[in-house]
């Protein structure tokens, strides 16, 4: 019992230590007023949480991120099944996909802002662009990884192509899709924030930009803390969802001793 308390106590010490160092650094006034005291930031955070503007920004950010993630997931899995199932399609798209894969959405942000303006649609477009490709590529890998024996078995049981796709190929691609979603969900949040910060799309990113431009450093730090918490929640939520959806798969099953 003693051993299990130990790590948590040290974690608390670590967090407290970081806060104390932060407080001392800001009191030392090394960076002028650009580093507000921890106490000031948390007071600001509390007052921000009481404003309606904050909650509507948060809603806009979450709305864009989740909606775009859902669209990217549906479209990505559909495209992935298509590309993975037909060899000519796979070869036709390989070069384009390989080129676009390492290109982050921030690269086309100027284009999106130029065409769509600083709007929620612009953020939405960038998030879909950023999340779509990884989901497509993982789904293709998953389709490729489907056990050929299972396919042949299904075929010899007289299943049609559509039924094989739905009952053999898709389930066996699910863990791959799960991995892609675990990466894509936090990325969706990040891209939404980036679109607000650099492109002026509505939401928390825009608020951060305004706080920085106005020199309102306490709000800037408070908002970044909110984003950190939000990021943690997104990661935890996707992990939970993945475990629920994929509980039947061997890599997720609880080991029975």
């Amino acid at each position: 019992m003693k051993v299990s308390i130990h790590p948590y106590a040290l974690s608390a010490v670590g967090i407290a230590g970081a806060l104390v160092i932060w407080q001392i650094l800001s009191a030392a006034n090394l960076a002028g007023n650009a580093l507000p005291a921890a106490t000031t930031v948390f007071a600001t955070l509390a007052s921000i949480l009481g404003t309606g503007a904050f909650w509507s920004s948060l809603g806009a950010t979450l709305g864009v991120a989740l909606l775009a993630l859902a669209v990217a997931a549906v479209a990505g899995v559909a495209l992935g099944l298509l590309v993975g199932s037909f060899e000519p399609v796979r070869y036709a798209t390989a070069a384009v996909l390989e080129f676009l894969k390492p290109v982050p959405p921030i690269v086309i942000l100027p284009l999106a802002v130029l065409v769509l303006g600083p709007t929620a649609e612009m953020s939405f477009f960038l998030v879909v662009f950023g999340c779509l490709l990884p989901i497509v590529m993982q789904t293709v890998d998953g389709v490729q990884g489907a056990d050929p024996v299972a396919r042949d078995t299904a075929r010899s049981y007289g299943m049609g192509e559509g039924e094989i796709l739905a009952r053999v190929v898709l389930p066996s691609a699910m863990p791959y899709i799960g991995t892609a979603m675990r990466v894509a969900a936090p990325a969706a949040l990040v891209v939404t924030v980036v679109a607000g910060l650099l492109g002026g799309g509505p939401g928390l990113g825009q608020n951060i930009y305004q706080a920085q431009a106005a020199g309102d450093y306490a709000s800037l730090y408070a908002l970044v803390i909110v984003l950190g918490v939000l990021g943690l929640l997104f990661q935890a939520a996707t992990r939970l969802a993945e475990r629920r959806v994929l509980h039947w798969h061997e890599s997720y099953r609880e080991v029975v001793h």
């Binding site: 974690s11 960076a31 000519p88 894969k101 921030i106 130029l114 990113g205 970044v224 984003l227």
Partner: protein, 259 residues
């Protein structure tokens, strides 16, 4: 079978070429202010980047990228080792690390701007800090997943602590470290662009965003094209490096899969 291979090769190279040709001709007489002719874009690409702004902007951006990434890589691996090998350190900084990792890396850029200003220093610091976390977390995971048997064998052979760390743990954790480095490189690239787009006037990202804000669509496209090519090439270079360093691992994986 041979026919099939030839067909696939033709499709694989034909379609991208076809797409580029289609872009060229469909945009040829475009008067749309957002989508200028590809010819104009390539012309501006050559005028801007080869080699007018090459040294002042392209090399500057790339230098920041590599310096920031190198700092992040070294610090991430070193701190990852310290964290993984000294449990009290891990318990102390684990929650902090996970919280900081949850923050979108680009959101840290405004903080560094307010602390350090708009200069090169700010950009390298932002890149290094944002790229630090993926490598560090992957290093910790890599070391912790090294099998106990391997460590026992190392101990039986009476390897010193230094030998155990450098000759056993480091190679065994290398595949995971490289996965972390790859993510770090992606993050570094994103933060490089973001740090230039937020209020600086130099660098590829700044020039691309400025071109957009002044409605010079061809210049903006040229910037996007250059950034896309850099993202692609950097990834390829990293793949080559990984293939070299991890050749033993990739080879053993291939054998395992064939068996």
């Amino acid at each position: 079978m041979r026919n099939l291979a030839i067909r696939n090769l033709v499709i694989g190279t034909g379609i991208p070429v076809l797409l580029l040709v289609a872009w060229w001709f469909l945009s040829a007489n475009s008067a749309d202010p957002f989508f200028p002719p590809l010819e104009t874009i390539l012309l501006r690409f050559q005028e801007l980047w080869l080699f007018d702004h090459f040294q002042s902007d392209v090399l500057l951006s790339l230098g920041n990228l590599f310096l920031g990434f190198a700092i992040a890589a070294v610090a991430g691996v070193a701190l990852g080792f310290a964290t993984a090998l000294v449990p009290p350190v891990r318990w102390m900084i684990d929650p902090l690390i996970h919280f900081l990792r949850g923050i979108p890396p680009v959101a840290l850029v405004p903080i560094f701007i307010s602390l350090i200003g708009f200069g090169t220093q700010m950009r390298v610091t932002s890149i290094a800090l944002a790229a630090f976390f993926p490598t560090m977390i992957a290093t910790v995971d890599g070391i912790r997943s090294v099998s106990n048997d391997l460590m026992d064998v190392a101990r039986v052979y009476r390897l010193s602590r230094k030998e155990r760390v450098l000759n056993v743990l480091l190679p065994a954790a290398m595949p995971q470290i490289f996965s972390g480095l790859q993510v770090s490189l992606q993050v570094a690239f994103i933060v490089m662009i973001a740090s230039e787009m937020l209020g600086s006037s130099q660098g590829i990202g700044a020039m691309t965003l400025l071109a957009q804000q002044s409605f010079m669509a061809a210049d903006m496209w040229a910037g996007i094209l250059l950034l896309g090519v850099i993202g692609f090439l950097v990834n390829i270079l990293f793949g080559l490096l990984r293939g070299k360093v991890l050749s033993w691992y990739i080879g053993s994986r291939r054998l395992a899969r064939a068996a």
